[in-house]
């Protein structure tokens, strides 16, 4: 038990309160810059304020070095926007991870998403060593134990109480082996995951099939599952994700819709094509939210509109999810 008063909540974060209150949760995502400009975080944050309940801050996403997610998270805290710190196992061992999480808690952060991390061969330091001292399931367990049992991974006591962190994990309903995926989710839940954010979903029937198994196993009652969605930027992007990205399934429907919308617009009219694509991308995203809301066991959506944060407001608004509800007189912003 933490000595810090969280009024019966595990962390007291807005995300936790929204989930506990049974609201359909909306989280967003913000990629820190490849530099140290605070203004980049502030400008992106402004686009998300009031439109989401909490914001993921990626941790060297795609293994490209960026500003620290915890430092960027502190900037959001100062803006009154609630961060979800992403923490990967790629760059730190258990000492580094625990030290950084204590620091994050001290700086006002209340949510952490535990990830393995993209392999460094995909990033801008492909010759680097990777760490993977603990894996994502072990990381979830370690953070939950820090919070609930005041214990470091080694068993030593955390002086002054465990950090009040709401613990999240990721799930990919589309990776193989497909049959193993719900069980891997079950492991993360057993390890202590309070919330789950899924990979981008562009195959609703397959996601439904996955969720049916998840609901049969009762996992949705033990953790809050937020379905990952993102607006498509172009037909090329849709095709690329369909054909080239490992562990992703994109229904032909999305590629076709993104192609249909530029029919009759000549290639030279780039701005017109982009406008058409972006509008359709947002519409498809709204359609996805509506479909996802009908699926049993889904507690909310996680909108990944990296480098297109402007899209979040129209998506959330279009889905009828604005204004964001408040809990205990507070909201995420």
């Amino acid at each position: 038990m933490t000595n810090f008063s969280t009024n019966g909540y595990k962390s007291g974060s807005n995300l936790e309160k929204m989930i506990r209150a049974g609201h359909f949760v909306v989280t967003g995502e913000l990629g820190p810059p490849k530099g140290w400009q605070r203004s980049v975080i502030e400008e992106k944050g402004q686009l998300l304020i009031g439109n989401v309940d909490a914001v993921n801050l990626t941790d060297n996403q795609t293994a490209i070095v960026r500003m620290s997610s915890i430092a960027a998270g502190r900037i959001l805290v100062e803006m009154g926007l609630e961060p979800i710190i992403q923490m990967t196992c790629r760059d730190r061992n258990r000492l580094g991870i625990q030290a950084d999480l204590l620091g994050a808690a001290a700086l006002g952060m209340r949510n952490v998403l535990c990830l393995s991390g993209d392999h460094q061969v995909f990033g801008n330091h492909p010759t680097a060593k990777n760490v993977h001292d603990v894996d994502s399931v072990q990381l979830v367990q370690m953070v939950a134990r820090m919070r609930d049992e005041n214990q470091f991974q080694c068993g030593d006591e955390i002086i002054g109480g465990g950090p009040p962190l709401f613990v999240g994990a990721a799930a990919n309903p589309f990776g193989d082996p497909f049959e193993y995926r719900p069980y891997r989710l079950a492991k993360k839940v057993a390890a202590g995951a309070n919330f789950i954010q899924t990979q981008l979903i562009y195959d609703i029937p397959r996601f439904k099939e996955y969720m049916k198994k998840v609901v049969d196993m009762g996992l949705h009652e033990k953790t809050a599952i937020l379905a990952g969605i993102g607006p498509l930027k172009s037909s090329g992007a849709a095709r690329y994700m369909r054909d080239k990205v490992p562990g992703m399934i994109v229904d032909d429907y999305y590629v076709d819709e993104m192609l249909k919308v530029i029919e009759g617009i000549p290639k030279e009219e780039k701005a017109a094509r982009q406008k058409a694509w972006r509008q359709r991308g947002i519409e498809l995203c709204i359609e996805q939210i509506q479909q996802i809301q009908e699926i049993e066991g889904v507690a909310g959506v996680h909108i990944m509109a990296i480098e297109w944060e402007e899209a979040v407001k129209p998506i959330v608004e279009g889905a009828g999810l604005l204004p964001r509800p408040t809990v205990n007189g507070q909201n995420g912003t």
């Binding site: 061969v121 492909p126 010759t127 680097a128 060593k129």
Partner: protein, 228 residues
């Protein structure tokens, strides 16, 4: 060579579990030379297990066989007809041997009897030490033939840390400081100036960090239509 150690008998018993008919497969190469999994060790382990299971009142049928090299198809293929008689195969090969058997005989349960420890040598009778981490990008020409990747506790590439004392590593007085050894060797060779250059961050992509490794030699591969 690959250095291994036998697992404790209690652990081996628990790995064998309920299996009634067990074949212990020794290996005649590295693990024979380091006295961990050769025919002699297979025979001793077989006797110990027969005795222990008999004392427990559930005597198991345990046989032993040793192949020349568990890590090559041609040496393990002759085991095939024999395997039907057993519920379980306990490999006394290194991790490569265990996996070679498991890959070749996919319907059999193959379990390890050794812990594969490191790549090294016997420095004296009964003492083995690590020398190589198979990082895939050798720098021994820069360090007097002494590897700081395998032998420095922090894998430092630019000289000793502050914990080197009287030739000993700070983690354990029994561990020689690799950089003391490198410095002494390079000085004796008159090459110490080379240790003044800053070594850049290493390319670890050829090591475990880059993912499982594979070497393909087209000059040695058989043509696709080749028939024996």
């Amino acid at each position: 060579m690959i250095i291994a150690e036998q697992k404790p008998l209690d652990e081996i018993k628990s790995i064998i579990g309920e299996a009634e008919r067990v074949l212990i497969v020794g290996c005649g190469t590295c693990v024979t030379v380091c006295f961990a999994g050769g025919s002699k060790e297979a025979a001793i382990l077989g006797s110990s297990l027969r005795m222990a299971t008999k004392l427990n009142g559930n005597g198991k049928a345990i046989d032993e066989v040793t192949v020349q090299r568990q890590c090559e198809w041609e040496y393990i293929d002759p085991l095939k007809p024999k395997l039907d008689e057993y519920d379980l195969v306990l490999s006394l090969g290194c991790g490569i041997g265990v996996q070679t058997l498991a890959e070749r005989f996919p319907t059999k349960r193959i379990v390890p009897g050794l812990n594969t420890s490191f790549l090294g040598l016997p420095v004296e009778q009964g003492v083995w030490e690590e020398r190589c981490q198979a990082c895939g990008n050798c720098i021994l020409h820069l360090t007097g033939g002494i590897c700081p990747i395998a032998r420095c506790s922090k894998q430092l590439l630019n000289g000793p840390c502050g914990g080197s004392q009287a030739g000993e590593c700070e983690i354990d007085p029994a561990v020689p400081c690799a950089w003391q050894l490198i410095w002494d060797k390079m000085t004796a060779l008159g090459l110490q100036d080379q240790l003044l250059e800053i070594q850049p961050p290493k390319d670890w992509s050829t090591s475990r960090d880059g993912g499982p490794r594979r070497i393909i030699r087209d000059d040695l591969r058989l043509p696709e239509d080749y028939q024996e």
